[in-house]
């Protein structure tokens, strides 16, 4: 309802304007268009006529001057005048036709040029259309270019991230490697230090042993020397002189009861507190001799009756140091055996065994 009314009113004012414009053009334009066009043509023509008549006037003036200069007979003059006017008229006629022709040509020209202009206009429009197309294409391409650029940037960023990660890992790796190297060095150093310490310990032990050994030897030598110094009443046939010497000694001590205790068992019980190892060695020497010889004879010699028997077990065991004994077979690892120090050092990194050549036993003599 409302829209219908609106439509009608719209039609009304619009139609009113259209009608008014048409009416205006009828009154103001169409009524005058033709008249003004024609007027302008006439004006042009009259201008042309004016130019021509002016020229005619000058010609006439010239003629009159001539006439004034040469007054001849009336008839001939009028004839000549007539002729001349005729000639002028012909000339002007020709000129007029020529001008008309020229005008026609110019009009033709105008038409041609107008056609050309229209063509050019068309060209311009088509060019504009083309330009718009190209413009659009350019915009599209620019958009594409932008997209590509953004994706490139993204890729570059991703690449950068990866690179950073790689660098970080590289740094971590080198740090760890460094640490490993250092740890290995430490380890080696510790091992060598430990080895050195152990070696020192071994040295010390060896030295102690040697010292001990030397001391014992020295004592032994001294005792031997002492023993050698004493002049012994040697009975060439009997070799129980040691015992007899001892027996001689015993009375010197002033106790005859001691003679009873000169049995090996008594000796045994007496020896350890008395003089340690060397003493016992020396005593052993003595006893061996007594063993080797017949103690019974001694006993008999001494005249003391006691229980006598042949020693059934070795009473002393000595550790000897043979110059070189390979332990490789026993340990299953390469072993360097130091002959001088009698210390063997296993060269395996995991286990280093230091051992004294205690495995080899032998009796001294």
């Amino acid at each position: 309802m409302m829209s219908g009314a609106g439509g009608r009113t719209e039609c009304m004012w619009k139609r009113h304007i259209a009608e008014q414009l048409k009416l205006r053009d009828r009154v103001q334009r169409q009524a005058f268009e033709e008249i003004i066009h024609q007027y302008n043509r006439l004006l042009e023509k009259s201008d042309l006529q004016a130019v021509l008549s002016e020229r005619l006037q000058t010609d006439k003036f010239d003629l009159q001057n001539k006439q004034d200069l040469s007054p001849g007979s009336d008839s001939s003059r009028s004839d000549a005048l007539l002729q001349e006017i005729q000639q002028i008229r012909i000339r002007h006629q020709e000129e007029l036709t020529e001008l008309h022709k020229k005008r026609g040509e110019l009009a033709q020209n105008v038409i041609q040029l107008n056609n050309q202009m229209q063509q050019k206009d068309k060209e311009i429009q088509s060019n504009q259309v083309k330009m718009q197309e190209y413009q659009q294409r350019i915009e599209e391409l620019e958009g594409e270019c932008r997209d590509l650029r953004t994706s490139l940037q993204e890729l570059e960023r991703a690449n950068q991230t990866l690179k950073d990660e790689y660098d970080a890992l590289q740094i971590t790796f080198s740090a760890l490697e460094d640490k490993l190297r250092r740890t290995t060095e430490d380890n080696q150093e510790l091992v060598s230090r430990w080895m050195a310490e152990k070696a020192q310990e071994a040295n010390r032990l060896n030295a102690e042993n040697e010292k001990d050994c030397r001391r014992r030897q020295a004592k032994l030598q001294k005792e031997l020397a002492d023993a050698a110094k004493e002049p012994l009443p040697l009975d060439p046939d009997d070799d129980i002189e040691v015992l007899s010497e001892e027996a001689a000694e015993v009375p010197a001590e002033g106790s005859p009861s001691r003679m009873v205790s000169r049995t090996p068992s008594k000796r045994q019980s007496q020896a350890p507190p008395q003089a340690g190892l060397l003493d016992s060695i020396s005593s052993m020497f003595g006893r061996r001799r007594s063993v080797n010889t017949s103690p019974e004879s001694t006993d008999t010699h001494v005249g003391v009756c006691a229980e006598v028997r042949v020693p059934s077990t070795a009473q002393h065991v000595f550790v000897s140091r043979p110059p070189s004994v390979s332990l490789t077979q026993r340990l299953g690892v390469p072993v360097r055996l130091d002959s001088r120090k009698h210390v063997c050092v296993c060269r395996t990194p995991m286990t280093v065994k230091l051992m004294q050549s205690a495995s080899v036993r032998d009796l001294v003599s």
């Binding site: 259209a18 103001q28 268009e33 008249i35």
Partner: protein, 275 residues
């Protein structure tokens, strides 16, 4: 829409038959014939009167020729107003053809602007278009146009090429649909007897409550006297392009279709005829 296009054409091709006569004060060597011409309503006087100048210079001594100007019944005609407006404002309801006196001396400096060349007209025309677009779109459209687009507008007017002009002018007439019109309507209201050259204020095509403004609304706000009161005889005519549109006509439609090429709606308020 076909009707609208016809209206645009009729507006563009409006003509006024004019008779140019050399003023009697001018000194001539011989009698000067009057010169008749159909003047385009939307153009400017100095742009279409080369022939008039040539015609009258033929009968004058070159020394006497200064800048040409035009006069109608004692009023110097401002060349920077469109011809249609000059006619509607000064010579409506007179007999055609419009009779204009041509002067070559005594240029009325206080009334007229000098117009030494067509580039001056072009500058004025373009400044009008920019002003109108500033009102309509805050100048966005005209600023977006390239130099050649501006040139196309001007060449269209100068060479009377309707299609060339409107191919570009169409853009100036666009507006966002949701706004239902331009920001402000570029209009000027002229009166023949007034101290002010014209009335120009900000006026929106649609009222805040969504009501479409009409030509009547515009006049009610700008010049209430122009609207006839009830039971009273019409005192003024409201003329645009030589016609009187109905007061119910929406002002937005008028601005789009009845504006001059300079994008302004030039409205003449002239006293109604007594008869």
């Amino acid at each position: 829409m076909a009707d609208d296009k016809d209206v645009l054409r009729d507006v563009w091709f409006g003509r006024i038959p004019t008779c140019f006569t050399l003023h009697q004060d001018e000194v001539t060597e011989r009698e000067a014939e009057p010169f008749y011409l159909l003047l385009p309503r939307v153009s400017y006087l100095t742009l279409v009167t080369d022939k008039v100048k040539k015609h009258f210079q033929k009968v004058m001594k070159p020394d006497d020729v200064e800048e040409m100007w035009f006069e109608y019944e004692g009023t110097a005609l401002k060349w920077h107003y469109p011809i249609g407006l000059l006619y509607d404002l000064h010579a409506s309801n007179t007999a055609l053809p419009w009779s204009i006196f041509v002067h070559f001396k005594n240029f009325p400096l206080q009334d007229l602007l000098h117009c030494p060349s067509n580039s001056v007209i072009e500058a004025h025309f373009m400044s009008c278009i920019k002003e109108a677009d500033a009102l309509k779109h805050k100048g966005a459209v005209v600023n977006e146009m390239q130099k050649k687009d501006h040139k196309q507008l001007w060449m269209g007017l100068q060479n009377d090429k309707f299609d060339q002009f409107w191919a570009m002018n169409r853009k100036l007439m666009e507006y966002p649909i949701e706004e239902r019109g331009f920001r402000y309507i570029p209009f000027r209201i002229y009166q023949p007897t007034s101290d002010r050259p014209f009335i120009q204020k900000l006026f929106r095509p649609v009222s805040p409550d969504g009501h479409v403004h009409t030509l009547g609304d515009l006049l009610k706000e700008m010049l209430p006297a122009a609207i006839p009161k009830d039971n009273e005889k019409k005192k003024y005519q409201v003329v645009i392009h030589g016609i009187e549109p109905m007061l119910e006509t929406p002002i937005q439609w008028l601005s789009e279709h009845l504006s001059h090429p300079d994008n302004f709606l030039h409205i003449s308020i002239i006293p109604a005829q007594c008869d």
